[in-house]
Symmetry: C3
Subunit: 154 residues, 3 copies
């Protein structure tokens, strides 16, 4: 990597963090702004999207206030080549499903592509991951389970 790539890498990391902050704070317009116009996504067989509008519409519909999500990425391995870049990340996610009374935990290895537009901004051109594991537990198995705080219930 060259010294000059460090700023591009940093900008791409900020982009990814904004995408996840938008997702977990349910800021769907902000989420949409992190994608190129023709971005694609593949979160496994059940969740493929051929354009960003469908992706955001799906999230908006399925991640309402009864789905409290946490998506955190780690271990950025980012390679920049001109106005394109690739990125690997390690994801850990948790969903507290207050309606279904389920706790979901999972982990994935992300492989993304990024593109820098004419305006100089990096955006997600493709996002996808290999799911390592995912498991669920019913809150009813844990009689003492207490959701002592829920931002989205306020």
């Amino acid at each position: 990597m060259e010294q000059t790539d460090l700023l591009a890498v940093r900008a791409i990391e900020q982009l990814k963090y904004r995408y996840l902050r938008a997702l977990d704070s349910k800021d769907w317009d902000l989420l949409r702004s992190t994608f190129t116009a023709d971005a694609t996504a593949n979160y496994g067989d059940r969740l493929e999207f051929s354009n960003p509008d469908d992706l955001v519409a799906f999230m908006r519909e399925n991640l309402g206030p009864d789905m409290v999500t946490l998506h955190q990425v780690h271990h950025p391995e980012i390679d920049v080549a001109g106005d394109s870049a690739t990125g690997r990340w390690s994801l850990q996610d948790r969903i507290v499903m207050t309606g279904y009374r389920l706790l979901l935990d999972g982990a994935s290895l992300y492989e993304d592509r990024y593109s820098r537009g004419a305006d100089g901004e990096w955006r997600i051109a493709h996002t996808g991951y290999v799911r390592l594991y995912e498991h669920t537990v019913a809150m009813d198995d844990l009689p003492s389970f207490a959701l002592t705080h829920n931002h989205f219930a306020e």
Copy 2:
């Protein structure tokens, strides 16, 4: 961001990591050293501090060896303007309460302010977060629960 900001951003990240390492290893003097003299903190309605000495005293008193804590932050979005800076982070925390026999899990979005002193060192001027969720489970709901290692019990 300018190339020259990268060093300031890195220094601020190191500061935040030191603050969390101090917290989780119960090194209260190190924790105190990460704050400016007039720093403030707001961890939600129940936990507000108007100066760093009160904050550290509270942690020292409430986070003894029977409260094994893990606070990990991710997704730094840091903006530097001269000798001031702001930072967003995604927090995940877990507390293993060996006395109360409770497991606590939570997540928050941090919004901090940092200040660079006359000595060139960055310190935390304000730290605060919006709590996304927090939940607790009693160990007694998990008859097999085994704390196979506890550093602070040694």
Copy 3:
């Protein structure tokens, strides 16, 4: 830190992420490539290694497809001095033991040493950690527990 150190720090971070990606994706040759020829490791009293071949052989033997692991590190505090460097990290790990039907969660503070070879590549010269906590729960305590995805069972 100097501006010129940023590239070395970044390279060391990439090394650590590759080491963990190799571990969690069970890519043992890639794991071996992250160590110097005489690297040592100390993961607590039970797990010490005096050379990288023993370490990789141990992982290969003990982390088969019935041990789904997630190791994520955070909070890099890296200091570079010429062709040597030290690094602190905060680790969180989870193991889903499908054979033993156990869930293991733990956290540690890593202290590593890195070395830059004649080929310009950074490698791990020593890795070790202080374990903060570790706990296990039997899946049988959670009758609803469902492993809804397992990459290594495919």
